[in-house]
């Protein structure tokens, strides 16, 4: 087993309430709430510039928030940042490494500042991520710089991992390695806040997600909870026309098309109408029937597509 068990108290890993932060006239965080329970992998999703990095930098005590309060394991993120940092590890979204040093040296230095990395785990992670630690940092690609930061963070024994888009430069094989590492962390009771806009990754890893838009969390909960607010897609080919769907509340986008092989029908239904709607279809002797839960992609799109015309949100820097 790569990671040690986590021994944590009963505090929330992260509890941020009403965070506000403005840079000049731009409001980067506008009353953001974020609660991450211990032992969960929490997805922090949102489009570019929604305020994900600003939130993480506020949690790290790098930014002084204008209003609200943020605590990590019950410790104030600004006043008690050093105590809080003893229990966390961080992977920045834009990893910059010291020029002139090698990747291995950077890993060691970050680990030592953190209070000591696990030598065996460091070795194993370098191997798993297929990283050459003797190369100078200038010659690393973006993905390799991210691997350095990941190895440095994952080889410490932190309780909480703050990962800011950690895989945006990794190839699919390394993405798999990363997902295995997060699964291992979770199995051992560590908490992870995973900021991402790669939805398949969040879908594969996260217990709960918070979706942030323009400095506010607009949706949060387990994937099942979030799905319950959105529509399930149903499509079928039936022997005879389906009756009753048009009158049913909660059924939208209904398309029906009579073809030689049967009636092609497709619609989307809300949580309450789904059972009855499918019953109608079943009553019409379906040859094929597909019921598709909404993917996270779709959740994301329904939350943001309507905002296409809205002014561009602001970034953290």
């Amino acid at each position: 087993m790569l990671f040690e068990m986590c021994h944590c108290g009963d505090m929330d890993a992260i509890r941020a309430m009403g965070l506000r932060k403005n840079f000049g006239h731009t409001q980067a965080l506008d009353g953001l709430d974020l609660v991450v329970d211990q032992g969960e992998v929490h997805g922090f999703l949102g489009p570019n510039g929604a305020g994900k990095s600003t939130t993480i930098r506020a949690l790290l005590g790098q930014l002084r928030i204008n209003a609200g309060n943020a605590k990590i394991f019950g410790m104030d993120c600004w006043e008690q940042s050093v105590q809080a940092h003893r229990r966390l590890a961080y992977v920045p979204g834009d990893v910059s490494l010291w020029p002139g040093l090698t990747g291995g040296a950077c890993i060691d230095i970050l680990g030592r500042l953190q209070g000591g990395a696990h030598p065996r785990r460091r070795r194993e992670l370098i191997e798993r991520f297929d990283l050459d630690p003797t190369k100078r940092t200038r010659t690393y690609s973006k993905g390799n710089r991210q691997k350095v930061a990941l190895v440095a963070a994952l080889s410490t024994n932190a309780d909480l991992f703050l990962l800011d888009e950690p895989t945006s430069g990794l190839d699919p094989l390394m993405e798999d390695v990363f997902q295995q590492c997060v699964h291992d962390l979770k199995r051992n009771g560590h908490t992870v806040l995973l900021s991402s806009h790669i939805l398949s990754e969040a879908e594969a890893l996260c217990d709960r997600v918070s979706i942030v838009r323009r400095g506010v969390v607009v949706r949060h909960g387990t994937l099942a909870e979030l799905r319950s607010h959105t529509l399930t897609s149903v499509s079928a080919v039936t022997a005879k026309p389906v009756h009753g769907l048009r009158e049913l509340d909660g059924v939208v986008d209904l398309h029906s098309d009579v073809r030689p092989d049967g009636v092609h029908i497709s619609f989307r239904a809300g949580r309450d109408a789904l059972g009855r709607a499918v019953n109608y279809v079943v009553a019409s002797d379906p040859a094929t029937l597909t019921v598709e839960p909404p993917s996270l992609d779709e959740l994301f799109r329904t939350n943001f597509h309507t905002e296409a015309g809205a002014p561009t949100p602001v970034g953290a820097r």
Binding site: R57, L60, G61, Q62, L63, R64, S81, V82, Q83, H85, R86, L88, A89, Y90, P92, D94, V95, S96, L97, W98, P99, G100, L101, T102, G104, A105, C106, I107, D108, I109, L110, R112, L113, Q114, G115, D132, P133, T134, K135, R136, R138, T139, A149, L162, R317
Partner: protein
Amino acid sequence: MTGYWSCLALSLRTAKLQVIGWPLLVAGLVASTASTLADTYPQQADRNAYAAASEAMRASAALQGRGQDLSTLGGMVANEMGYLTLILIPLIGLHLAIAFTRGVEDSGRLDILTAGAVHRLAPSAAGVTAAAVTAALTLAFSTFSLLLMDCPVRGSLLYASGLAIFMLAFTAVGTVAAQCCRDARTAYVLAVGFWLVSYLTRAVVDVRGWNATWANPGSWPAEIRPFSAAPPWWPWLAFLAFTALLFGIAALVATRRDQGAGIIAPRPGPASAAPWIRSPLTLLVRLTRGVGAGWIVAAGLFAFAFGYLTQQMSDLTSAAGGQVSNVDATLTVFVQMNALIAAAAGLQISRWLAREETSGRIGHSLAAPVSRTRWWTSATLLVTGWSLLLLSCAGLFTGLGLAAGFNDWSYFGQGLIATLAYSPAVVLFAGIAAALSALSPRLVTLAWLAIAWGVIVCLRADLLRIPGWARHLSPLDWMGSVPAEAWDRPAAALMTVLAVALAVSSTVIYRRRDLSAG
């Protein structure tokens, strides 16, 4: 070369502040020097007296180059501008060349540009052209400044052209360094090293009066003699040949190397960090040891050379009947320069630490259980420590140079102790840099103004008749002119207290502000 013109337009637009700002600064200094000299020496008789006095002060040739045609206003301006010409102009030239070529390549912007329908070398060629445009603007603005002061047209044009071609020659030096080195920092070290060697060998040649000015580009600006009756042509040919040769070498390297690489492939390094790097302070020491060592070598060379020349310069001054004719007066200038070099090194390291913040690396490091107070204290200690180490080394080498020049070891201690007397001023400079970078990493650059003013007061206070209160804006002036005068104890104590106060308040500010990236 496809895309050359659009790249040139881009270079000029993104760096317009530098392309216009440097020529304006140079022209402004030329104009202010010329108007001061015209006011101070209005009649021809005054100017003849200046020429005679300058003959007596041949010592200053070590720092500012040989003076020529000193009984004309133009010749006086050229002489008094010697510092600027020999130090500022080449540094601007090589800085622009490196910033516009390798700097762009380092940032990755070059990859984006050349991915388009742009010739592989077009962005670099455009960058060099933008540096050349800066030289051309320097020519235009400086000519205008001198014409305003009623200098002769031909002389003004020749003098300003001399500034421009000297700048261009060092643009060529910078271009070669930028093409050969893997990154901009190494290129700066190489190019500045070349300049330093050129400057110091010129100093030796000028003080010794050797007839070897043809051998060194640093000697050529004085040899142009723009305000003489028959200006020689050979310095121009020398400049052109030197510049063309270097640009040729740069082009040859550029066509043969990979984009993003230098001529030496990077070697693999150790797979783990040295065991002694375990705290913010040791990390910062590791990160700055290269730049610090470079400063020690440069300051050591400078201090030794001028320590060595002190004896000869004092003799020359006394022999010519100069008013101030003792070793202490000459030495005062050099030990003050030592202090300014130490302060400049501290400031450059502060700027370097500011870049640690803007790159986000400090944010990454401070995600560890390291308090801001601890980080900031380490950074302030580091800058102060490097400044004081630099000052000690410069003092040591001034002492060694004095001992070698006089062939008398009793002078060794004098050079060292006189230099160390300026420690409080150097610590105050470090405090100023700390206070500015605590406010914002971008403000550190402002501290260069304090250093520049220190240089002007150190070298030019009497000539420019700078009033006492303005001289006092330079911390060095508070100390008194050691060793010519006694050390001012209350001032030293006050400066130390002030430096500590600045360091403490900078810590308070730094703890309370946002980090600028991370």
